[in-house]
Amino acid sequence: MSIAENSPPRGFRPGQLLYDSRYRSVTIQAIALALLAALLIYLIRNLVDNLHALGKDINFGFLDNRAGYDINQALIPYSNDMSHGRAALVGMLNTLLVASLGCVAATIFGVLAGVLRLSKNWLVSRIMTVYVEGFRNVPLVLWIILIYALLTEATPQPRDFAGDNPTASMLFGVIAITNRGTYIPAPIWGEGGRLLVLVFVLSLIAIWVWRRVARRRQAATGRTLPVVWVSLAILILPTLITFLALGRPLTFDVPEAARFNFRGGVTVLNSFMALWLALSLYTGAFIAEIVRAGILAISKGQTEAAYALGLRPRRTMSLVILPQAMRVIIPPLISQYLNLTKNSSLAIAVGYMDVRATLGGITINQTGRELEGMLLLAGFYLVVSLVISAAMNLYNRRIAIKER
């Protein structure tokens, strides 16, 4: 700028480092870096000092040692003879399981509540307000504890389902919610099960391709192709045909009430159920607000303009309102997913064995490796968060309105 032209070009005096705006930023950054380095050196020297005094070193070898503790929910084969590393992996998978299922359920709850809160039905919109405010304004830990209490204290015992005149009945005849856990049907894969899954995945890809083709066609010619019905057909028909052609390779093992406990099926722990329900209801309340704000953010003129163009209400919603609302909704929605994933560490309230409980809990207590354990734990959460926020940034860049 003009300062640069007016200032004398020759010579460099040390004073310029402080009073010349061209060089001052260099000085400030150098000071900041020096301070940061000093802080880090101070912390690391203390660390080395302390570790030396305790006779410890930094060593991740403990991950190969025998874990020696049981984990009540493992998605991959695990026994207490396996290593701490394996236990940590089991915990990570448990965290990711509850987080991903939570995200799905939270989206459903949130979208439902957000839309219903805008409903003209007075009673329904009031109930949704109570739901949203109730969950948003009470700590998540309390909700986890309360739902866990509800599941363990207010549900029937397994033996109530058995006998000639059971006092409790199963949900849809296949799901049993008891105070020891929830029993759901277990899938049994027969011959050709892999082919079935393959066909299903292929049909999902086909739907994606079809939608792309339809959108391209519409952009090029203005003619619309049927998307919903074709997608539905692609989703169901090939899989169904393969299923029947292969002689039903997938059956379900429905839990059966025995005298004291259930036989067959999969047992879902109450701790998991409580954590999952609480996380998704809590996050759902936040998502409801996001959805509501997103829909309200689209000005009424958009709807009126669409009507003026002769679009019917459904097309107005799908072609005009939703695409614009999505732009408002998606970024905070993804950051809610991020929150949910981080909040899943509250598993500690009900003793669900997530990564904090295995790697960050029992493993640390048994091996005394706090530093390494916490580093790995923080690293895991950090990687998950960064992946999610990278996805969000990518999406934001794609949909952002281009400005100056």
Partner: protein, 438 residues
């Protein structure tokens, strides 16, 4: 005119008809019901479902809560009273646990003689915050705001009055150096001196001075150890101090993140993403397990202070993002106008940018505070007696073993009242600010 009509038309009315009331079905409760609850088959289904839901919840909860027993000394006593009053098998709340333990739930293990101190400290805090929130109050009240931290510290932790006073003296010294330096010396020397003089005073002089003065005049309040803090007092102390301390840090981080200077912005980004990427509970465990590794050997300061520091560092990253949103929302013209006036960076920020950006971000800051206040419940897991930790302790005592719902419902209700009030305040603020912008 009417004459002509009189011949051609059978009857002509020349007065207005009195207005008829609207049809029955279009007014009153019935119309409202039709419009709002039964306007289509989907709505009818929804209404019936809603009524069923409300009935199920209320029919379970209300009799249980309403018949609740107050004033019993233990759960067994509660059950005896219940069996006398109601037929067998009735489920009845035992609110006695609240009436017996509410002081503990609010104050933790604070000495009963000092129960007046936390509320007074809270009142001091609120009065100190007023001149910041409402700009039309007299500016002289800001002096109270400066003095408040020391007064609050003294009220809560007690001890002799000289400790907080000497700390405050350090601030006064800094102020004096700043004022004299600004008039005479160069700005850089003044800045360095303003930071160094109070620091040196606190490090070397404050403690002996306070000890001397305490010998001379042992005025003060009974000392309360940090481990005696508990219940909602603990939540409020941690929450409020963390949010107040994190505000300046968060603003600096936000400015750093938007800075043109490469390293400054990268440092800020790294800090913010690191803090936000890891759950609070992991940070709290870090504070509990690891902090001592990073401090000189033999340092051991109390858990509450560690938690406050950790919560501050944590909240600062979130505040930084909120403030960054506020900074980004300002029109670019404001920055350019400040540059055009020839203001330097700090002047532009202090006089033009930050007042507007902070104003926009107040609702977000309040929301961050609500989140932090709710998150203070996590300290229960590192062995502190916040309401949830106390609930666990009470449920483990012989008198109240087996009690479950009552105590958690009470805690949830208190949190709800606090947080709901604050969120309403932030919505109100948002509306008011919106109007002032147009």
């Amino acid at each position: 005119m009417s004459d002509t009509h009189a011949q051609t038309v059978a009857q002509v009315r020349d007065t207005m008809l009195p207005p008829a009331p609207p049809p029955r079905r279009e007014t009153g409760a019935i119309h409202w019901l039709r419009e709002n609850l039964f306007s289509g088959w989907l709505n009818i289904v929804l209404t019936i479902l809603a009524i069923w839901l409300v009935w199920t919840v209320l029919s379970g909860f209300v009799p249980w809560a309403w018949r609740g027993i107050w004033g019993a000394g233990s759960l067994t006593e509660c059950r005896q009273i219940r069996d006398q009053l109601y037929p067998a098998g009735t489920s009845v709340a035992c609110w006695s646990v609240i009436s017996e333990r509410w002081q503990q739930l609010i104050f933790g293990f604070y000495p009963p003689g000092g129960y007046w101190r936390p509320p007074v400290a809270l009142a001091v805090f609120l009065v100190a915050v007023l001149p910041i929130l409402f700009t039309d109050l007299p500016r002289r009240l800001l002096w109270l705001t400066v003095a408040a931290p020391f007064l609050i510290f003294f009220l809560l932790w007690g001890g002799t009055i000289w400790g907080p006073l000497t700390m405050a003296l350090g601030v006064v010294l800094g102020g004096v150096v700043w004022l004299t330096g600004r008039r005479t010396g160069s700005p850089l020397v003044t800045l360095v001196a303003t930071i160094l003089v109070p620091l040196l005073f606190w490090m070397f002089l404050a403690k002996p001075l306070a000890a001397e003065l305490a010998q001379l005049a042992p005025w003060g309040l009974p000392r309360v150890a940090s481990k005696d803090f508990g219940g909602f007092t603990l939540s409020v102390v941690i929450g409020l101090s963390a949010i107040c301390l994190s505000l300046p840090l968060g603003v600096l981080l936000a400015l750093g993140r938007r800075s043109d200077m490469f390293f400054i912005s990268k440092i800020a980004i790294a800090y913010i993403e690191l803090i936000r990427g890891v759950p609070l509970i992991v940070w709290l465990f870090t504070a509990q397990l690891l902090l001592n590794y990073f401090l000189p050997r033999g340092t051991n300061f109390d858990l509450m202070l560690r938690v406050i520091i950790m919560a501050t560092l944590f909240a600062a990253a979130y505040i930084a993002e909120v403030v960054r949103g506020g900074l980004a929302a300002l029109p670019k013209g404001q920055y350019e106008a400040a540059d055009a006036l020839g203001l330097d960076y700090w002047q532009a920020m202090r006089l033009i940018v930050l007042p507007q950006a902070l104003k926009i971000s107040i609702p977000g800051i309040v929301n961050t505070f609500i989140g932090l206040f709710k998150d203070t419940t996590l300290v229960a897991f590192i062995g502190m007696y916040d309401p949830i930790g106390l609930a666990t302790a009470i449920r483990a005592s012989t008198d109240w073993q087996g009690i479950y719902w009552e105590i958690y419902v009470f805690i949830a209700l208190v949190f709800f009242i606090f947080c709901f009030a604050m969120s309403r305040y932030s919505i109100w603020l948002e509306r008011r600010l919106e109007r002032s912008h147009r």
